[in-house]
Amino acid sequence: MKRVPLVDYLVLDDDPHLVANECTNCQARYFDRRNACAGCGLQTFKQVEVARTGTVKSFSIVHVAAKGVKVPFVAGVVDCDGTSVRGNIVNVPPDPEHVTLGMKVRLTTVPIGADAEGVEAVGYGFEPVS
């Protein structure tokens, strides 16, 4: 089955990982396309791999969301070796007993669904390191 990544900073190969656009001057990292670096203003970036493991530095368990968004889910911020990443905390019950600040997590892929042509979109999340 053909697969496409949910976002273009998710690389779906044998070992799925995230990439960032890193400013060649100040090393600020961005997941979206930037015209110039918001930190220093320079305009050259190189693509770098982001660490696949990290620690949860913040989260919220979202119970009320836009129509069509499945709740509850855990929105989180993960510190991946110095690079902050936004992502859901997955494969864990969405409650404060199981999701805690400082917990160790690793990147995993999450199926989003197939479109009319049978192409599967694949997203990502972070799951606890057991």
């Binding site: 930190g39 069509g68 936004r86 479109d115």
Partner: protein
């Protein structure tokens, strides 16, 4: 040095549901009452700054308002700065006076938000037609819910939890106790949208919106408007004794945006710009946090109030939990915070908020706050945040001219 600017008149409408009034009715009510409070008329105004984000009819809100309160040909600045829109309008009028282009100015902020529901991301587009990358992330569908949350309760929940991770001590119960304080304060404010006192248990057992924020810990969508007349000091000197007696000095007026920080693209950083704004404001005013008799800060969610104790330097860095636990921000504490009831109970009609919290401070400094008066209040600080971000900080002083 440009001249000092004073508040000559100010008004806040009752916040709540105003089914029979449209945006222009509410804006007119605030503007006309602010002019009456100032003892002047629309023909005395040299500039109008107006903010409204949500009403139909497109831009040009200020000009539409003029059709109701007086078309005098003065320059109109329509401003938009998210939840800092009202403070931005006020700041524009202040800058016009400081620039020497105006003696007096009018700033107005209005919003009708009753029944607006969850702000941002109220529906997701239908999925499954054909995955096509678009936008700056090359996303094939909306990321809300797939990659974190776009909802405000969820974003601000994470901001509070990030503080807890950094410094410890803040848990669900602590955030709920902050909300308990503000709802208790609101019982003394007849202009608040909600004046109901909640027990801690009621707050914690209410509907969970985005952990750790339950429904009463979220700002209340409602309708409302606020307006202020500002005047330059040299002009104020020519006015009546009564006008001078009630005038309130604007000792600091600061607006900042968020400087780049690692992680600010992941979770908005509402801390750095607030700290910078408060530092500049204390320098401008020549006062320190210990001099403040009351503070109105942007408690759009209970989780946000905690971080702003620190950002506004009401406590030592990292000391917000201890500050709250000491009882300091209760109305009988060392630094009363949100004696109006805050956005959680007074309500948060977005564009009005940045002037409404100035009204609250000014009313205490004038000694006109009735049963909720903070005795002998002489200095107060008003703070707002518009996500994206903009931060407005104003320091007001009781000072006879």
């Amino acid at each position: 040095m440009s001249e000092n600017v004073w508040i000559l008149g100010i008004h806040m409408t009752k916040f709540g549901k105003h089914k029979d009034k449209d945006t222009l009715d509410l804006g007119s009510e605030a503007a006309l009452n602010a002019l009456a409070d100032a003892g002047v008329g629309i023909k005395d105004m040299d500039v109008l700054a107006a903010g409204n984000l949500m009403s139909p009819g497109g831009g040009g809100f200020g000009q539409r308002l003029q059709k109701q309160i007086g078309q005098t040909g003065i320059p109109v600045y329509n401003v938009a700065n998210a939840c800092a829109t009202g403070a931005t309008a006020l700041r524009v009028a202040i800058m016009a006076i400081k620039a020497g282009e105006a003696d007096m100015g009018l700033a107005v902020g209005v919003e009708k938000l009753s029944g607006a529901g969850l702000l941002t991301g109220n529906s997701r587009e239908q999925e499954g037609r054909k995955w096509e990358p678009k936008g700056r992330f090359g996303e094939v569908t909306s990321l809300d819910g797939h990659v974190g949350t776009e909802t405000m309760p969820g974003v601000f929940a994470q901001i509070g939890m990030e503080y807890s991770h950094k410094y410890g001590g803040a848990d669900f119960e602590l955030f709920a106790r902050i909300s308990e304080k503000n709802h208790a304060h609101s019982t003394l404010n007849p202009k608040a949208a909600y004046q109901k006192r909640f027990t801690l248990e009621e707050i914690m057992n209410d509907v969970m919106i985005a952990y750790p924020n339950t429904r009463p810990m979220c700002s209340a969508n409602c309708d409302g408007a606020a307006a202020a007349v500002v005047v330059g000091e040299s002009k104020l000197r020519t006015l009546s004794l009564e006008q001078r007696r009630r005038a309130v000095k604007i000792s600091a007026s600061v607006l900042t945006s968020d400087p780049w920080q690692e992680a600010c693209q992941i979770l908005p950083d509402i801390n750095t710009l607030t700290r910078q704004a408060s530092t500049t404001a204390y320098e401008q005013a020549g006062v320190g946090p210990e001099d403040l008799d009351l503070v109105e800060l942007h408690d759009c969610f209970a989780t946000a109030e905690l971080v702003h104790y620190d950002n506004l330097q009401l406590c030592e860095p990292g000391g917000a939990v201890d500050f709250f636990n000491s009882g300091a921000p209760w109305r009988d504490g060392r630094t009363p915070v949100n004696v109006s009831g805050g956005l959680q109970s007074k309500g948060h009609p977005v564009s009005a908020t940045g002037i409404a919290n100035i009204w609250e401070i000014a009313t205490h400094l004038r000694g006109e706050a009735g049963p909720r008066q903070i005795p002998d209040a002489k200095v107060g600080l008003a703070h707002v945040i518009g996500l994206g971000s903009a931060c407005g900080v104003h320091i007001l002083e009781k000072s006879a001219l």
